[in-house]
């Protein structure tokens, strides 16, 4: 359960990161590929070398989706409906990977924000990413 304060904090952080969406997104993806090589299997159709055009563009897409969800967390199921369908029926990414990616997003945020990634921000963000992943997997079965 996210408190009102936590929702505001999350919305604030993601709004501030929208200008660097491709950097954060590409960084998080790159970290995931380095730590969890099995995740690369979903990207054989893209060039995922560091800071490649594909990686930056894909990272940007993902971060913008996360940021959009953060604007109105109460409406996540509505906001994510198209992405739910995409992930369930087309991409069919094993949802266990959402946890791995979420962790790498948190690490990317920690690197980017340093001390500003306070324990309260960390807790709120971890909860939000879990909620996001859960909604994303809802149509799988």
């Amino acid at each position: 359960m996210l408190s009102k304060k936590q929702k505001e904090l999350i919305a604030e952080i993601w709004a501030s990161l929208t200008p660097v969406a491709e950097d954060i997104g590409a960084d998080a993806l790159g970290r995931m590929f380095a730590s969890y090589p099995g995740t690369k299997t979903y990207f054989s159709h893209l060039d995922i070398s560091p800071r490649s055009a594909h990686l930056l563009s894909h990272g940007r897409k993902i971060v913008l989706a996360i940021a959009e969800g953060a604007r109105d967390i109460g409406q996540l199921t509505v906001t994510l409906a198209p992405l739910q369908t995409l992930h369930a029926y087309q991409l069919r990414i094993d949802p266990a990977n959402f946890k791995l990616f979420s962790h790498c997003v948190l690490v990317a945020l920690a690197c980017h924000m340093g001390d500003d990634f306070t324990p309260d921000a960390h807790a709120a963000m971890d909860k939000y990413m879990s909620a996001f992943a859960a909604v994303l997997s809802e149509k799988y079965r």
């Binding site: 960084d27 690490v107 690197c111 340093g114 971890d126």
Partner: protein, 147 residues
Amino acid sequence: MVQWTDFERATIQDVFSKMDYESVGPETLSRCLIVYPWTQRYFGNFGNLYNAAAIMGNPLVAKHGKTILHSLERGVKNMDNLKDTYAELSVLHSEKLRVDPDNFKLISDCLTIVVASRMGKAFTGEVQAALQKFLAVVVSSLRRQYH
């Protein structure tokens, strides 16, 4: 036995040699108690853990955070024998403290995030992977004596 590449060995030594144990330890344990509040179940006698501020200011949390990190230092010095290095602590956590071993991953993740926030850009994906591999082997060693 775990195989370490030269890069992994050098990275682990480097990351831990530059680490400020006195602040990283307390912050890691604090974050674990804040982000995963159910872990507070093991710290009933630590006094006030009511909110993030209380946890961050709690001297018992700080002291224990340092203890945990200094124990990791032992692992850094014995990377080729983590199993034996942590055998005694594994028994302690399993039989006396009765800590659910799934919690070890939670505190590892918190440590990764604290190190990331300290190192910033220097904490590349490759450095992260090396640290996570090291912590995974430590965690696995700590799980060994659970029966």
